[in-house]
Symmetry: C2
C-alpha cells in the first residue's frame, strides 16, 4: 500500500490543561522517536479539575481548532479531566483520530487485576466523573473500583517536592484508606502523578501494581497509527517538536526542561480564546 507521506509526516497534536501532559508527550517521544509532536498547554486557564463540564468542552473545542491549524494527523488528549468530560463530545465532530488517557489505563487495569479490586487516584473532577469506573467495567464487569481524589499532589509536584517527607505524609494520608480496601491495582489517574510514581509505590507496597496511563496511552497511540497507516517511517532525522502555551511560557519551559530528555528552548504563546 502506498502512503501519502504528507500525512504520515504530519505531527501528532498533544494537549493538556497545563504542564502535566508533558509526561504523556515524553512517553510518545520514547516509544515513537520518528514522530513529531505539537504540544499545547493551556497554562492561562489551568487547572481544569475545578471547572464545570460545559467550560471544559468549550476550552477543548478551542484547543482542537488551534491544533488543526498545525495540520496534525491525530490528537492525544493528555489530560484526565478533558478525557473524562469532553472527549466523547468532540470525537464526533472530528475527521482525524483522537484518543484520551482514560481508556488505555482503564483497559490495562481491568485486564491485569487478579482480585478485581482497582483503585483510581486523580483530581476531584476526574474522580467525580466516574469515567474510569465506567471504562473498567466495560472490560471487567465484576471489578470493584475505589476512587480517591488527591488535590495536593499537583501543587506538590509543581513545587518540586517529589521526593519529600511532606509529600510522603500527604500520600500516606490520601492512600492508606485505599490500601485498606485491598486493591491490587492502582491507576495514576492524573498526568502529574507519574512523577510521584516511586513515592506512591513506597506507600502502596509491592502487592499493588501501579498503572501509568501516560505509558499505556503512548502504546495505544502507536498501535492506532500503525493500524491506520499513519506511522511516520522516515527515521534518522532529528524532529523539532513544537510547544505552545496560552500564558507564562517561561514557567512552562522550566517545568518542561525538568522532565523532558532534552532542552525546550522556545515555547510560543497562543491567544487560545480566539480559536
Amino acid at each position: 500500500m502506498s502512503k501519502d507521506t504528507s500525512v504520515t509526516k504530519a505531527p501528532i497534536g498533544v494537549f493538556d490543561s497545563g504542564v502535566g501532559g508533558l509526561t504523556v508527550a515524553r512517553e510518545i517521544m520514547r516509544q515513537m522517536p520518528n514522530e513529531q509532536i505539537v504540544y499545547f498547554g493551556d497554562t492561562a486557564r489551568v487547572p481544569y479539575g475545578s471547572k464545570s463540564k460545559p467550560t471544559i468542552i468549550r476550552y477543548t473545542r478551542q484547543i482542537i481548532n488551534f491544533l488543526k491549524t498545525k495540520n496534525v494527523k491525530a490528537i492525544v488528549v493528555a489530560c484526565n479531566t478533558v478525557s473524562a468530560y469532553a472527549l466523547e463530545e468532540v470525537k464526533a465532530e472530528l475527521d482525524i483520530p483522537i484518543i484520551g488517557v482514560v481508556k488505555p489505563g482503564a483497559e490495562v487495569a481491568a485486564s491485569i487485576t487478579k482480585n478485581g479490586k482497582i483503585g483510581v487516584i486523580g483530581t476531584v473532577a476526574t474522580i467525580e466523573s466516574k469515567l474510569y469506573n465506567k471504562c473498567i467495567k466495560e472490560h471487567n464487569a465484576n471489578a470493584s473500583v475505589f476512587g480517591t481524589p488527591c488535590p495536593l499532589f499537583v501543587p506538590l509536584v509543581e513545587e518540586g517536592w517529589v521526593n519529600d517527607t511532606v509529600t510522603f505524609e500527604v500520600a500516606t494520608r490520601y492512600l492508606t484508606p485505599l490500601l485498606d480496601t485491598g486493591i491490587d491495582t492502582l491507576i495514576l489517574g492524573c498526568t502529574h502523578y507519574p512523577l510521584l510514581r516511586n513515592l506512591i509505590g513506597e506507600v502502596m507496597g509491592d502487592e499493588v501494581t501501579l498503572v501509568n496511563p501516560a505509558y499505556e496511552t503512548a502504546a495505544k497511540l502507536k498501535e492506532m497509527l500503525k493500524e491506520k497507516g499513519l506511522e511516520n517511517s522516515a527515521s534518522g532525522q532529528s524532529i523539532p517538536h513544537e510547544f505552545y502555551v496560552s500564558d507564562a511560557a517561561e514557567r512552562f519551559m522550566s517545568f518542561a526542561n525538568s522532565i523532558l530528555p532534552y532542552d525546550v528552548d522556545t515555547t510560543k504563546l497562543v491567544s487560545i480564546e480566539e480559536y
Copy 2:
C-alpha cells in the same frame, strides 16, 4: 450636607480570582454592617498567581465592566495578584473609587515595625511583583523587606487542612528562613492566609506581629467611604449580599459557607469573557 441616597445605598463591588477574597468580604461585613456587597469570584480562571501581567489586566477589566452593571459605588480588589499587577492600570480608567489589598497592609506594617525588618508571604506572582516592597518603602524608606512565596498554602486551605500537622510542617519549611532574618512584622499577603493565621502565628512566635491585609483593607474602605460621603447610614435592615462566580457555583458556596457568618444560599453564574 444632603446625600444622594441612591448612591450611598449602592453596593460595594468586591472581587477576587476565586474564593480567597471572601476573607476581605467577611471583614467588610464585620466593620460595615450597613453596606451591601456584590462579590465576584473568577472561579473559571483561578488561580491568577501563575498568569502573566497582560492576562491579569485583561481579566480585571472584564470583571470591573461586570461590576459596573451592578451600579457599585466603590470597588475593592480583594486579590493580591490583581492589586500588584493591574490596580494602577485600571484606576485611571474608572470614575468610582477603587482600593486594593496591598497598600493598606503595607502601610500598617511600615508603621508598626520596630526593627524595620518586615516579612511578606504570598503567591509567586505577588512576591515577584515586589509591590509590597515598593509600598512599604514609600512609608518607611529604611525598612528591609523579605519576601517568601508559599505556593502550597492555598491548596492546603482549599483542602480544609487549616489546623493540620502537614500544614504545620509546610509552614515551618517556608517560614523558618524568614524567621531567621529577624523580622518583627509579617504581612499575610494572600487572601487565603488569614485562615492559617493561628498556625502561622504558632510557627512565627510571639515576637512577630502578623498583619492581616483583609482587616486593614476593610478599615481603609470605611475611612474612604466616610471621607467621600458614600457611607450607607440606613441601618436596621438585613442586606442581601450578592455572589457571582464564573464557574462551579456549588463548590464556591460550600467554601463561602465555611468562612462567612451566615449561609450563602444562591450564587449566580456569569459569562465573564463577554464583559
